[in-house]
Symmetry: C2
Subunit: 320 residues, 2 copies
């Protein structure tokens, strides 16, 4: 009889699982997300939890509950997920919670939004601990965000925190959501890749895709972008400059409206580019502040790529 | 012995005073703001309160307290005001609260931010009554805003709600705050006037300033703009189109971040242009929403140009 919980962060590239006991991560594992169908993805989530349990020297009966942070539209009451564009088979309705519960002998499973989980992870276990008012901004494949206001996660009508789809340039670059000029169209990894490919096709020179192939990747990952920056690849440098400017505008707009204590910048790209990137974003933000003499603290995450998985275990505490 | 309170909205053009008893406005008066110095402005505030008392058939001993909503930087603890660009002499420190208190035989005076007062007025006595989560946007000389989140006025560090200085067009029109592309640079009356004058000087035809002179005004007031729109003055039509577009971007950005129940649009220009303007702003906003199928209600104010003065009496209840 223990109080261990498992947390899972489901992403388009990877499935990150952790086992938490007495407030500490005692086991973790990372599995690639299958690029086939929903059944395979669910099986891989189950496998990732088993790997994390193994790493912790535990088995299913040691688990009190499992939390899963998922992209897409999440029905917290039923554990069903849909409209997750980046996860194979998850555009359709998937009974994620019930399936995982069945695989773990009826252990309760809580499914919630992945960004919400990550924000709660940083709030309770990471860089957000000192604050009652902050925003988490996760710069990865897309750009997600979440708000802690007066010590509470802001839900709104269920989708509050969508900083990635605030407009930073009316009539600007086309976003995955089909609107023009969203923050995500400039700072999301997917959009950066597409824009770089477009520029390559128009004859601009870039080493970005050579680096991608040399690293054996089939997409421009955060580490591919980091390598291209290290090599001063002009197209990549320009695209990251534009991402920083866009983040500066969006973060300042949020700050001017809400006067937060801090803004925490994470996500695959944010974590990989690290402190220098966070400082550049801060500088771009300050230039757009109404009261630049009173900026919020701008920080990286404490938990890095574990924010979401650890946060999924934090959400369990809040729902039970 | 009654429970009457007086409320004052101090603006660059006018001083609006009300007397409220048993929750009803029982007297009101409006005086022009002197364009001379701070002492004259304070004297005129005192005169406006006396006029409102007269209208209510009351005298100083009937007043329990006086609330004043002021632009600029307000020290709520001391009642001092400074940095109010549009009020003569109020760039320097003015002992507004103590001076008014002395003029009313020691009656307690509360001074707070004018926009905060207006938001509280609509929240408790106006269009915001049904909601626990809304934003008030006041389009006047400048553009102010305030947020009610989970039934509480958001203060932040003291200046939350500055939607007027969120960026709607990076590198765009110069704002009074000296930054480029703020909402206020497109939707504020002062900026609209300056831009129209600039276009006139560059040879574009506009009747805006003839209408202003014919109405005996020395600035482009909201009613001057309304008349020019009625006459299909092309420059004015274009500038209001741009104001609507800018409001659409800024309101959608706030909505995407916060998922509010409603947005209330008021202020001198918002109230004067009325329902057709509010509907246009709503339409422009919906086009920029992440979830256009779940828009907030977009409403005009209930209290019109009394939002601020009535709100100043509401703030008294909250502080005492």
């Amino acid at each position: 009889m223990t109080q261990a919980t498992a947390g899972v962060d489901l992403g388009g590239t990877k499935i990150q699982a952790v086992v938490v006991s007495a407030g500490e991560v005692v086991g973790q594992s990372r599995h690639p997300t299958p690029n086939t169908n929903a059944a395979d993805v669910v099986a891989e989530i189950v496998a990732a939890i088993h790997s994390a349990l193994d790493a912790a020297g535990m088995t299913t009966p040691d688990l009190r509950a499992i939390g899963i942070g998922s992209p897409g539209s999440v029905d917290v009451a039923t554990g069903h997920v849909s409209k997750a564009r980046n996860v194979p088979g998850f555009m359709d309705d998937v009974a994620l919670g019930p399936s995982v519960r069945a695989a773990f002998a009826g252990t309760p499973v809580l499914v919630d939004n992945d960004v919400r989980a990550a924000v709660m992870g940083e709030f309770r276990k990471g860089a957000g601990r000192p604050f009652r008012n902050f925003m988490g901004v996760f710069v990865g494949t897309g750009v997600g965000g979440g708000l802690i206001l007066e010590g509470e996660l802001r839900h709104g009508r269920g989708n509050a925190g969508e900083i990635g789809h605030t407009t930073v340039k009316p009539g600007g670059r086309r976003c995955g959501c089909l609107r023009l000029g969203c923050l995500e169209a400039y700072a999301g990894r997917m959009s950066i890749e597409q824009t770089a490919r477009h520029r390559l096709e128009k004859g601009q020179k870039t080493k970005l895709f050579e680096i991608m192939e040399r690293k054996g990747r089939d997409r421009v990952t955060s580490s591919v972008i980091a390598d291209a920056l290290d090599q001063d690849d002009r197209v990549t440098v320009e695209l990251i400059d534009e991402a920083v400017e866009a983040l500066g505008v969006a973060l300042a707009n949020a700050q001017n409206l809400l006067e937060l204590e801090a803004i925490i910048v994470g996500g695959g790209l944010g974590d990989r580019l690290g402190e220098p990137f966070v400082r550049r974003v801060e500088q771009a933000m300050v230039g757009n502040l109404r009261f630049p003499e009173q900026p919020p603290l701008v920080l990286g995450t404490d938990l890095g790529d574990l924010s979401g998985a650890v946060g999924a275990t934090v959400l369990i505490e809040y729902r039970s």
